[in-house]
Amino acid sequence: MYEEEAVISARGLSKRYGSVEAVADVTFDAARGRVVGFLGPNGAGKTTTLRMLLGLVRPSSGQARVLGSPYRELHRPLRRVGVSVEADAFVGGRTGRNHLRCYAGLAGCGRRRVDELLELVDLRGAADRAVRGYSTGMKRRLSVATALLGDPDALILDEPANGLDPDGIIWLRGLLRDFAEQGRTVLLSSHLLDEMQKIVDDVLLVNRGRVLHAGPLDRLLGAEACLVRSAAGRQDAVRGVVEAHGHDRLPLADGRLWVGAPPREVRTALEAQEDTAGPVHVEPCTLESEFMRLTRNDREEVAL
């Protein structure tokens, strides 16, 4: 997929639970210096895929490699890969600082690094309080701090932005961008699509255990498609115009119409038929619209 050497890679990764195929033939690469967004509806197989990448769940078939070898064969893995997959996993009675210290030794770092990280995630004031009393956002930040303990080359984060307030989200965005700009790699999952559109370079979109898109965000949002927002009651008329021009089209759940043609072309066609189609807004595709379109398309194929 990329010319650069892959930091995280999956080849034909599959997992069956009895007759349920949770993950089927997932193949992708995450390259150096990239932020990769791992997207998909709930139950799409994201968490299972991440767990197979990390050697927590055995794949039924296929291979996963992190920094060139299976995760379980990495020596001192915390120094290579920082992970946050259970962002709520804490012993309530333990303090934030002690939580970090429980893993600091295995990450090869000492007290000073723990202090640095508490500062970085803005938990210095709460460091000696029991995690039980932390807000969701504080727990997320502590989980990110745990991932950063060993100053790793790659980060794998499952829903790191959940429960963060707007400041927290902006902070996380900056942190991940800096991390990638140093030539390191981030793989993160999230449902916050607008946020993901701001920070990811590449998108791995899965649905029902299968990959729908694996590649650069620009390619997914390419200039060869657009969204049309029309006045109430005019949707059918707009669709008729688009159909008459022979363009691919798909109505989205929010009432907009996805059209598989460049925005300028679509705008010209619709403006020429303004009597029937009414006033329209032609917008570039977004990660959200592509997510809806691809996962919905996928569902319809099943229905047939």
Partner: protein, 259 residues
């Protein structure tokens, strides 16, 4: 070694370990004091007239409190599943054998610490009370010394058994309630029934019975009228339980999928 340090830190950074230790010491010491004082009652069946018979008051920790290191060993494993921190632990060290091994050693260490503190407290209580009442305490005698050392060893092994049980069951509530019911109710009933059925010479083969034997016989033997069996065979038997539970736990721990 790093993993062991991590496990010790996990134990030391919660309140559980010392609340359980405090409970164990208080419970054992109170019962020990009660036994010593009760032995002075005119109608008491207890006769502390010789070093051999005095062992019973020195062995109260093993008789009633071995469930504490056992439960703590269980919690060493189950707490990580309950809090879901097991993912973090296995990501930090993907070698499950190494993680389990560190937990097993930590279980032994916790058992040893609990055993030492509790046995010291109870030996002090029993010896002090006996001396205060003007009775011989037999503190330096062979049987009492062997009982005290045996008690510490037994309580240490129970910590390891707990780690094995925790890895086999994983659900903290089920495991802790299970060990309490098994050790405090079911096994004593079996031992009583064993005596009734004339099997009193084999009840020391049960885990609690083996522990009692290894400590040199406890109040449980007196109460159920069962023979204690020898100290060394008892210790060997308990060692077999520790090895079996430890190994089964390791086997299971290495195979779980974390979902």
């Amino acid at each position: 070694m790093t993993q062991f340090a991590s496990e010790v830190r996990k134990v030391a950074t919660t309140w559980t370990w010392w609340v359980v230790l405090l409970g164990m010491v208080a419970y054992s010491a109170c019962y020990t004091a009660f036994m010593v004082i009760a032995s002075r009652l005119e109608r008491s069946p207890l006769d502390l007239g010789s070093a051999e018979s005095a062992v019973i008051v020195y062995n109260m920790p093993v008789a009633i409190a071995y469930v504490f290191p056992l439960a703590m060993g269980v919690v060493l494993v189950t707490q990580e599943y309950r809090s879901k921190l097991i993912s973090q632990t296995l990501l930090a060290n993907p070698s499950r054998w190494s993680v389990y091994g560190a937990k097993a050693v930590t279980g032994l260490a916790v058992g040893l610490l609990y055993g030492l503190v509790t046995v010291l407290a109870c030996t002090g209580a029993a010896g002090g009370l006996l001396a205060a009442m003007g009775e011989p305490a037999y503190l330096g005698s062979g049987p009492v010394l062997q009982a005290v050392l045996g008690s510490v060893a037994v309580l240490t092994l129970w910590g390891l058994i707990g780690v094995g049980v925790g890895a086999l069951i994983r659900n903290q509530l089920v495991a802790v309630v299970g060990v309490v019911v098994l050790t405090q109710f079911i096994e004593p009933v079996f031992r009583l029934a064993g005596t009734g059925l004339g099997g009193d010479d084999v009840t020391w083969l049960l885990p609690g019975g083996a522990g009692d034997a290894a400590a040199g016989g406890t109040a449980l033997n007196t109460m159920t009228g069962t023979a204690a069996g020898g100290q060394l065979p008892g210790f060997a038997m308990l060692g077999v339980y520790a090895a079996v539970f430890g190994a089964l736990g390791a086997w299971r721990f290495a195979r779980y999928e974390i979902s």
